[in-house]
């Protein structure tokens, strides 16, 4: 017995040399590619910290010689879009005011949808669900104008609440799918036991399903926060200048034709707009990947 273990030698794979040719190739390639992925972020940061004279002289990749935070202040509170000169702060708060109700409403409705579709099936429920999923693949362009009419009819065109409704509608297919699949994996006995005990539709949802579905809620929140914050198309069509979300305002600041281009302010504004999803990304880690893997079906 002892003999056998002695002869077996060390277990596990042969330790590799750290600088084998394969390793140099792998790490070299990965590092090179990393430059491509990191460069824009780096350039944005250094540009936003330079003054305009330095930008005109030096190269974009050089670190700032005199670090100044003025571009950030200017981007936040002074940059002009058309006649409004109160900076990106307006767009930021618009985006926040769009984001919070949209996330709550879309996830609330979609989770109830998913729950009803997996536990309270009725004749035709699957048909409606299939239509909803097919709808996710229809180009938004074909539905843009009918929604304009719809919003006009109910008096929400150009209002923040109108945009909230649009986000709720277009977030519904993927979120409903997400919750339906999750609730379908919950053991049916649990649901049946609750029914035997006399619990109804809402009671089972709030007391049993909701507490169990917390992880999927987090995934849904990540998906929606990044998706809605990054939206440009709906924002530009269904709002007016006073209610522009941050992405639309950023585009207007950077691509406005009037005035001298202030690249440092533009880059500060760009970073400010990207900050929220970036924070979500780095804070959520693996859950973000789960969120986008779920959103991968979005179409």
């Amino acid at each position: 017995m002892a003999d056998a273990t002695l002869h077996a030698g060390p277990r596990g794979p042969k330790p590799k040399r750290a600088f084998s040719r394969a390793n140099i190739f792998i790490y070299g390639t990965l590092l090179l590619v990393s430059i491509y992925y990191l460069l824009p972020l780096y350039v944005m940061i250094v540009t936003s910290l330079k003054g305009m004279p330095e930008i005109r002289m030096g190269n974009v990749f050089g670190p700032p010689m005199d670090v100044t935070f003025e571009p950030w202040v200017k981007a936040w509170s002074e940059a002009c879009t058309g006649i409004n000169c109160d900076g990106l702060s307006r767009g930021f708060w618009n985006s926040v005011n769009i984001l919070i109700p949209s996330v709550i409403l879309s996830i609330g409705i979609a989770s109830v949808n998913g729950y009803a579709l997996s536990n309270w099936k009725f004749k035709g429920s699957e048909v409606f669900f299939t239509i909803l999923i097919i709808g996710a693949f229809i180009p938004y362009q074909t539905m843009l104008y009918p929604i304009v009419i719809l919003l006009r009819e109910i008096g929400l065109m150009g209002e923040l609440s109108g945009l909230v409704l649009v986000h709720t509608i277009f977030g519904m297919p993927i979120l409903t799918l997400l919750f339906r699949n999750y609730f379908a994996s919950v053991p049916e006995e649990l649901f049946k036991a609750a029914r035997v005990d006399g619990a109804g539709f809402w009671r089972i949802y709030f007391q049993i399903m909701l507490p169990m579905a917390l992880p999927i809620f987090v995934v849904a929140i990540i998906l929606q926060v990044t998706g809605i914050w990054n939206d440009f198309l709906f924002g530009v069509i269904y709002t007016k200048p006073a209610t522009y979300p941050m992405t639309v305002q950023l585009n207007n600041i950077v691509n406005s034709v009037q005035g001298v281009k202030e690249y440092n302010v533009n880059m500060a504004a760009t970073l400010l707009t990207g900050l929220v999803p970036l924070i979500i990304y780095f804070a959520s880690g693996k859950l973000f990947v789960r969120g986008i893997a779920a959103g991968a079906v979005k179409g």
Binding site: L30, Y37, P40, V60, L117, F128, G135, F137, P146
Partner: protein
């Protein structure tokens, strides 16, 4: 006996009540049903119907047959948009798949710092297309960006100015688009690679098959479903291409980087030519159906039989 019979006899009379079975579930699904029927089905049908009218500032139901489509296909801007999208779509499919798979394969070689590399590659995906477009517009700026940098190194005649050249502007967009989206493809590929049995690798090693050959001949064919998912994902992203173009080039120089989604929105909301916009968006819908129907048939039609 009689007591058990009574309810079963009464059942036919109770049938109308079926409508109220799971009533609360039906009530709760009203928003979903409305979305599916009114917005998705109704909205799409409305647009298709109105694409056959001469609506301009306001939608009107004066049918003019296929006139809008004839006008559409004889408009230079639409033709350029289609060509641009075809070029961008083809290249971004190939590049995303190649880059995504290569990065995933490299990360799958049991390397150190895998998590760090993955975070770096996926990071741009968290950013919006507007941010992406604006950032790359700055880097590709001829006076301050890459071109200026290389010239500063002493190569005075170096020219890299894709965004101001009608022939290469789509490549400028492509660089940005790949930067933003390839991390997602890498993630999907990596998940696919992790799903492959370790024994396959052992068997290949025993048979003396090289690493690259194993990937090409064994692993990639095994990952067919993953590639299909990735392709559908890339394709549906391509057709939506709009924000990036608006932020990075706004269709210019001239009309050389126009895309169909932008055509639709410009005609509907800027040029006040609703009919043209509806016709163009119907064409987009048709092209999606051409791509999607065979895929859905292969994907879901096959499952039912199997």
């Amino acid at each position: 006996m009689t007591t058990t019979l009574a309810p079963s006899q009464a059942r036919p009379a109770k049938r109308p009540v079926r409508l109220f079975r799971h009533l609360m579930s039906k009530v709760a699904l009203i928003p979903m049903i409305l979305t599916a029927l009114v917005v998705f089905v109704g909205g799409t049908a409305w647009t298709v119907v109105h694409s056959f009218t001469n609506s301009r500032l306001l939608p009107r139901l004066e049918f003019i047959g296929f006139d809008q489509y004839e006008r559409l296909w004889s408009t230079a801007r639409w033709i350029v948009s289609i060509q641009n999208l075809a070029l961008y779509g083809f290249l971004s499919m190939i590049l995303s798949l190649v880059i995504g798979f290569t990065l995933a394969a490299l990360l799958d070689r049991k390397i150190r710092f895998e998590g760090a590399f993955r975070s770096i590659f996926l990071c741009p995906f968290a950013l919006s297309f507007v941010v992406t477009g604006v950032a790359w517009q700055w880097i590709l700026n001829p006076d301050f960006g890459l071109q200026n940098l290389v010239r500063g190194w002493g190569w005075e005649s170096f020219a890299f100015n894709p965004l101001n050249d009608p022939d290469t502007v789509m490549f400028g967009l492509l660089i940005a688009g790949i930067w933003q989206g390839s991390g997602l493809i890498m993630c999907i590929m990596l998940a696919g690679l992790r799903g492959i049995d370790e024994d396959i690798w052992k068997a290949a090693r025993v048979d003396g098959i090289g690493t690259v050959k194993t990937y090409v001949r064994i692993i990639i064919p095994m990952m067919r479903p993953v590639f299909v998912t990735a392709l559908v994902l890339i394709a549906s992203g391509i057709i939506k291409l709009y924000d990036l173009v608006v932020a990075q080039t706004n269709g210019g120089p001239g009309i050389s980087s126009e895309v169909p989604a932008k055509y639709v929105i410009d005609y509907m909301f800027r040029a006040q030519n609703l009919g043209q916009g509806f016709a163009a968006s119907t064409m987009m819908l048709v092209s999606v159906l051409i791509i999607l129907v065979p895929w859905a048939y292969l994907e879901f039609g096959g499952k039912k039989r199997g």
